[in-house]
Subunit: 223 residues, 2 copies
Amino acid sequence: MTDPARFELYAYWRSSATYRVRVALGLKGLARDETTVDIDGGGQHAESFRRVNPMGAIPALVDREGDGAPLTQSLAILEYLDQIRPEPPLLPADAAGRARVRSLALLLAADAHPLVTPRVRQYLTTTGGFDAAAWRAWQIQWLGAGLQALERRLAAEPATGTFCHGETPTLADICLASVVVVTRVFKIEIPDIPTVARVMSACERVEAFAAADPRLQPGAPAQ
Amino acid sequence: MTDPARFELYAYWRSSATYRVRVALGLKGLARDETTVDIDGGGQHAESFRRVNPMGAIPALVDREGDGAPLTQSLAILEYLDQIRPEPPLLPADAAGRARVRSLALLLAADAHPLVTPRVRQYLTTTGGFDAAAWRAWQIQWLGAGLQALERRLAAEPATGTFCHGETPTLADICLASVVVVTRVFKIEIPDIPTVARVMSACERVEAFAAADPRLQPGAPAQ
């Protein structure tokens, strides 16, 4: 028996928001145990998980050295990890830089990703009358809009470096990669995003990103 | 002629995300000039605004004492204002409290509000085949899901006070109020949210919230 890790992550292999937390824990060198919540099978609604997070949403992260309340909402979790373990920083030090990184992150994590979550799929394919092709067009629309908006900013703004903001990964890169991996899971090609692709390649050379690849997680289908 | 204010806010009267920035500037006692961007009339796509924010999105906030780059994404702007003008704080001091407030804020600002923005309406009512009734049902679905999820957390969690977290307004209250004011603009009643309603009443007794009421802003229709 080994001692439990400091963190318990409630997770699913292809969850984009879970991916963000896996990358951040990895960058910070923080160990975790994982419990799978099968959101394709409705596991987020199971009583056993509702006792952990009554909202029935993943990721949920329990800090065993904290007050026991599960941390939820991936960006809030990333900010928490950056506060309790400041190195390496996930945000620049200056206010303008922090605002830029958070804005780039939210461009995907707020404006794009929430549109393509399972609960939206559920609504659109029942009440909304969408068939499978209409749902796929919807996924492509919003993932494409988000990544292409990010592309325009990264290509135009002088603070872009090897990563979205300078030479080390930040919240923005974690969100960028979290959306790119989703496009791969669903075999969606978004055209005309060369800067995004270049930054994604830089991310994938960092162990914490490579290790968080959804295809490598428990429960992922065989390649 | 008076000197220009420190901040220039690109705004629209009923924009929920603009409301958040108005409240935060008010709480911090920071003066602003406003330029209206008529998003009902496509003003976000006008060349004159694209020169300010190539993304064509409001709110955009220019800090005339900053580097000139417009600040975008309301939550990133709120965090920026909290850094450059720390009093009164929009986040608690402790890591767990900050995580809770940010999570409550994102529950609305990421999981709910992006689903009911004009660009989503545009897609659903053209490509998506939604008529006016289907769009309204969609608005009610996601604004209701967001506010009812917030209600469950506020009612259950011991850190809830007069406001979402303790006795002073935070990012979470700003996001709560920003969604409640939208439901009023669209005359949508969300049932079974007594704690949300109680917190909203507390917010409305604070001048910065009262002054940001969409119905009082330039361009709002006569009552």
